[in-house]
Symmetry: C2
Subunit: 602 residues, 2 copies
Amino acid sequence: MAHAVDTAFTYRPPLRDLRFVLDEVLGVPDLLQQCGSTEFDAQTIDQVLCAAGQFAAEVIAPLNASGDREGCRLPQPGVVATPKGFRSAYLEFVEGGWTGLGCDAEFGGQDVPSCVSSAVSEMLSGANMAWAAYPGMSHAAYMCVAANGTPAQKALYLPRFVSGQWAGTMCLTESHSGTDLGLLRTRAAERPDGTYEITGTKIFISGGEQDLTENIVHLVLARLKGAPPGVKGISLFIVPKFLPDARGEAGTRNALACASIEDKMGIHGNATCTMNFDGATGWLLGEADKGLAAMFVMMNHARVAVGVNAIGLMDAAYQKALAYAKERTQGRVLGRIGPHAVGGADPIIAHADVRRMLLTQKAYVEGSRAFALWATTLIDMQHRHADAEERVRAGRLLALVTPVVKAFCSDLAIESTLLSMQCFGGHGYIRGNGVEQHLRDARIIPLYEGTNGVQAMDLLNRKVLGDGGKSIDVLLNLIQDWIEAEEATPDIAEFLVPMLGLVKDVREITTELVAVAGSSADIAGAASAPYLRLIGHLMLAWMWLRMAALAGRKGEAAEAIHMSKLATARFYYQRLLPEAKARCLELRAGAASIGEPILDWF
Amino acid sequence: MAHAVDTAFTYRPPLRDLRFVLDEVLGVPDLLQQCGSTEFDAQTIDQVLCAAGQFAAEVIAPLNASGDREGCRLPQPGVVATPKGFRSAYLEFVEGGWTGLGCDAEFGGQDVPSCVSSAVSEMLSGANMAWAAYPGMSHAAYMCVAANGTPAQKALYLPRFVSGQWAGTMCLTESHSGTDLGLLRTRAAERPDGTYEITGTKIFISGGEQDLTENIVHLVLARLKGAPPGVKGISLFIVPKFLPDARGEAGTRNALACASIEDKMGIHGNATCTMNFDGATGWLLGEADKGLAAMFVMMNHARVAVGVNAIGLMDAAYQKALAYAKERTQGRVLGRIGPHAVGGADPIIAHADVRRMLLTQKAYVEGSRAFALWATTLIDMQHRHADAEERVRAGRLLALVTPVVKAFCSDLAIESTLLSMQCFGGHGYIRGNGVEQHLRDARIIPLYEGTNGVQAMDLLNRKVLGDGGKSIDVLLNLIQDWIEAEEATPDIAEFLVPMLGLVKDVREITTELVAVAGSSADIAGAASAPYLRLIGHLMLAWMWLRMAALAGRKGEAAEAIHMSKLATARFYYQRLLPEAKARCLELRAGAASIGEPILDWF
C-alpha cells in the first residue's frame, strides 16, 4: 500500500450507542423483566457487550484486511483453508463460550436474549464480516434443529453447536434454483434403516467446508421420491460431514464433499462452497414435504441477523470516514474551525458537503441500529413475554418488519459505505485504506438470504396484502399511540407533524394497494420495492423521533449523546426523510409503466 | 469460477442507440454542417462508430476480465507490466489511427468532432475501462499541450501523441494535496539553459508508467522558487520520461521513476502510479504561476470524458443484466410470458420487480447517454460554430453542465451497476459472471478528476452563484423554448406538465439560493450535492422528453426503438423523476442541520 491511512485496521465497538439504544430508547432491562429474564439487568448486558466488543476489536478486527487479501483456499480437493488466524480466533471464541450465547440453557447455552446477542453480532460483523459469518450461519442451523428436531436429534446436535465443536450450514440453493426453491432437484431416497440417501449439488453454501470445527452439519433441502412437484414436495435433512458414532462423536466420513469455492467480490475469508452430495447419509428433520416451512423458521431469524450484520459493516465504514474527515486537512472554511497558518488547511469535516455525507451515514447507522434492535426485542417478546397477547402481537410485528430489517438496512449499508468511501476521496479507492472492503463485503447482504426484491414481495404480498393490511395497522397504531403520548415532550414539535404525515401517507397508500392489488399481478410486484423503502423510512423516522424525544425529556440534563441525537434527528427529518415523498409519488404512479414494455423494447 | 454465466465476456456496442441519439435526437449531421465539418455526414459517423464498436467488442472486451484478474505488476523497480494482451491491443489501436481520432489535422489527427469521438470513447470504456484509460488520459495531455504549448512544443509533442508513439499523463495530486492543490509541494527550479529541475512526489498518476508507448510525457504541477503561496503560485511543466533528442526522438532517461503502483478496488489493468521526480528536467508549459488555469482547460474536457466513461460501464453492466434476465428462469408470472410445463418457470424479466430494475438501468443509461452526447455537441459548437454568439452560448452551457455530466452520470453509474448486480441475485456477487467488476471499475469515477462533491461545488458556487444565475437561466430558457415549440406534438402531453413544473422548481430554488448564499459559507456547501442532482434530473427529464417527442412525431411510422423510448420516458417520469421533488424539499430545508452539530456530536 503506497498510501495507507492509519484508520485502516481499527474498529471501535459502539458500546455507548448500543447502551443508549438498549437501555434508554428501548428500555430493554424492564422489557426483559416482563419476559422473565430477570438476570439481564443493565449491568449484566453491559458486561456482555464490553466483553464482546473487546473480542471484536482485539481478536477479529485485526484479521479483517488480511483475511480479505488472503481469502479461502482449496489446498487439496475437498479441503478448505480459511485465512491465517481465523482458526485460532474461532477457538478463542469457543473458549469464551460465545458460540452458545443465544442458545438455550437446556443444551448448555447462555440463554442471552435476542436483543443482546444481536448487539454482539453487530459488533462481530462490523469487525470482521467474513469471520463472523461462520458462527452466524452455525447459529441459524442451531435454531432450525431446535425448532424442528426430535428430542433425540436435539440432544445429539444442539449441545455440539452450543459448544462450537460442530458447525452447521443451510443448503438450499442449486445452480438453477435460488429464489424459486420449487425447482430444486436434489433427491432423497429412504433406506430400510430409516436413514436417507441424499444426492445432488448445492451451491453458495457459506461455510460448507472449513477448518474451524470437528464436524459440519448440513441442513439440506431435497425431494423425496414421489413427492409433489414444486415447493410442496421439499423435505429437510440433517446431513453431517462425519456421521455421529454411538457416543455422538464425529465418526465415519459421509459421502459429501466441497467441489469448489467461489471467487467473490468480497467476504473473501468466508468459504462459499459448492457441495456435492453423492448418496450421502441423512436424517429427516421435521415432517416429510414440509421442509420449506421448517427451514423458514430459521430463515426469518437469519434475515434479521443479516440486517444487523449490515449495520455493523456500515458503522465500521463510517468510523473510518469520520476518523479520516477529522484528520485529513484540505481547503479552508471560514468561520468554523478557526484560523490557520498561511498554506494551512482545515480538517475536511469542516466542509458542509463532507458534514452532509457524515451526517447521512450517522443517521443511517444509528437509526437502523435502533430499528433493528427494536425488531430483536420483538423476538424476545414473542418467545418469552408473560402476556400471551403481547406474545402474539410481537410475533405479528416481527413477521411484518423482518423483510424490512433485512432489505432496508442492507440497502442503507450500501449507500452509507459508498459515502464512507467518498469521504476519503481518491484514497477511498485504495485497498490499504480498508474502507472499500466494507462496500465489497456489504454488497452480498442485499443478495443473499432472499434478494431484497424477494424481501419486498414478502413484505407487501404476504405480510401486508396477505392479511388485508391488518398487521401494518397494528404497527401504525403503535406509532400513532406513541406520538400522542409524546405530544407534550419539549423540542420535538418539529418532528411530530412530518411523522404524522408519514403515518397518514402509509395508511392511505396501503389502503389503495389493498383495494387494487387483486386486479393484476403486476401491481404488487411493481409497488413492492418502493413500498418497502417507504416502510423503512417510517421505522427510521419513528426511531429518530424516539431518540429526539429522549433528548427533549432530558432538558437541561441532556448529555452530549442526547444533543447529538437531537441534531441527527433534525438532519434526518430535513434532508433524508423527504425521500419518502418521492416513494409515495412513485407508488401512486402505479404499475402500468412497468407492465407495458414488450420484450423487444428492452 | 464454479458458476460463470455465458454473458460474462460479451459487450455489444450500442450502435443503434448511438445513431438514434446523434442523428435523430441531436441532429448532429446538420449541426456539424453549421460547424464547418462538412465531411461528417450520418454515413461517415456511422462508419467511425461501427469500426470503433468492432474494436471495442472484439479486441479489448475479451481482455476486460483477464486484465482485472491479472492487474498491473512491477516486475522490477520502476517498470510496470500491463496485463497480458493490453500492449498488442494498444498497438492495434495505434495501427488503426484511433489515437489521433479527436486530434487536429494539423498534427496528423483525424479531426473527428467531439460528439463522435465521445461516442467512441463510451464504447471503449464499456468494453474495457482499465485499458481505455491509457489512451483516454493521453488524449487529455494532448489537449493540454495543444491549448497551452508554444509552437515548438506543439510541433514536438502533438504529432507523437497523435501517432500514439508517446503517451501523456496529468500529475496533480500529492499525498497531502488532492482537492486542495494550493497545498502542493513539488518544486521547480529554473536552470541557466531555460529548463527546470522538478523535484517532488506525485500520487495517483494514471498510466504514470506502462509498457505500451516509447515515451511518457508527464504534465506536472509544481511551484517555482519564490512563487506566491496557494493556487496562485502553481506552474505547469512538461516532464518526459525520455528527453527528446535533437531529432525529437526519445533520448536520455530523465530523473523520474515510478516508485510503486496502487492496489485498488478496481480498474486493476490501469497502472495508478506514485511518481518520484528527482531533479527531473522539465519545460514550462504556459505561463509561470498560471499552471492551474492551464491544467483546467484539459481538466474540464476530462470531466466530460469520465462522465462518458461512466455511461459505457453502466451500459455494459446493464447488457449483462438484461441478457441474464431473459435467460434465467425462476418463478412463475401468470399472464405475461405464456404457459409453461409443470415445474417450469418464467424468465425473470417477466417479474415486475426485475422489470423495474431493468427499466431503471435503461432510463439511466440511455438518458445519460443523450445528455452527455448533447454536452459534447456543445464542445464542437464552442470551437467551430459559424455564428460567434452560438459559440459563446455553447461555451457557457458547456461550463455549466460539465460538472453535472461528470458527477451525475457517475453517480447514476454506481446506482445502475448496483441494480445490474441485483438482477443476477447471488450470481451477481461471483467474479466469473463479470458484472461485479463493472461496479468496482465504475467506483473510481465519482472519486477522480475532482470528487463529485467538488463537482457540486463547482456547479453551484462557480457556475450558478458565480454569475448570479445567468448561465442557468440560459439553460432553462433553452428548455422552455423547446417545450413551447413542442406543445402540439402528439403523445407527450403527459410529460410537458411535470417538465414545466421542474423548470419552475429549478428557477425558484436557484433564485432563493442566489438571494441567501452570501449570508453563510455553509448555504452553498450544504445545497451543492442535492442541487447538482436536481439539475441532473432536469437534464434527463429534458432528454427523455425529446426522445418521447420523436416517437410522438413519428406517429404510425414509429419503429420499435421509438416505442421503446416512449415507454422508457414514461417509466422515467413516473417512477424516477419524483426524486427531484425530494431534492427540492431537501434544498429548501436549508443548511442549519448540517452546520449546527459540533465536532463532539459526530
